[in-house]
Homo-oligomer: 95 residues x 2
Amino acid sequence: MARSTADTGGHPWRERARPLRLERRIEFDGYEPLREYLDQVAALSEATQIFPNLSFGRTYVNLTLFAEEGAEQVGEALHAFARQADALLDTAEGS
Amino acid sequence: MARSTADTGGHPWRERARPLRLERRIEFDGYEPLREYLDQVAALSEATQIFPNLSFGRTYVNLTLFAEEGAEQVGEALHAFARQADALLDTAEGS
C-alpha cells in the first residue's frame, strides 16, 4: 500500500472526502493555452474512459476526479489520470 | 425595455440572483458532441470576449454568465451570448 508520496499519489492534487475525490485548480495566462489544455485532457479522457468533472472560466480550470461510490480510497486509475493530466500541463507550459 | 420574452431574454436560460447571472444546463448523448459544443462555445467566447463559467462532466454542460458586479439587470450582451450559444446547440443537434 505504500506510495512514494502516500498522501497525494505522486501529484499535486488534493484528496477530499464526502464524496471522496481528487481536486486540482490550475491557473492559465490566457484563454488559448487553457483551451489547448482542455483539448488535451479531453483526449486523455477518451483514451482512458475516465471523465473528470471540469469547471473553467477564462483563466482557470478546476478538475475533480470522483472515487467510485462506496470506495474507501481513490483508486489507482484516478491517481494515474491525475499524473497524466499533470504531465500534459508540463508539456503545455514547458515548450 | 420591453422584450418579446421579458423574463428570459428570448432564450431558455434561467436568471438567478446573488450574484445576478444566467444559467443553462445542457445534456448530451455522448462525450464527442459535448466536446464539439464546447469548442464552438469557446470560439464564440473568443469572438465576443464574453467568457461564461462552464462546468461539465461526460454528458452535461452547465453554463453560467455572470452580470457585471453591481448591475441590476443582466446586460444585453450576455443575453445575446446566451442566444448565440443556444443557436450553436441547434446546429450541433439538428444536423
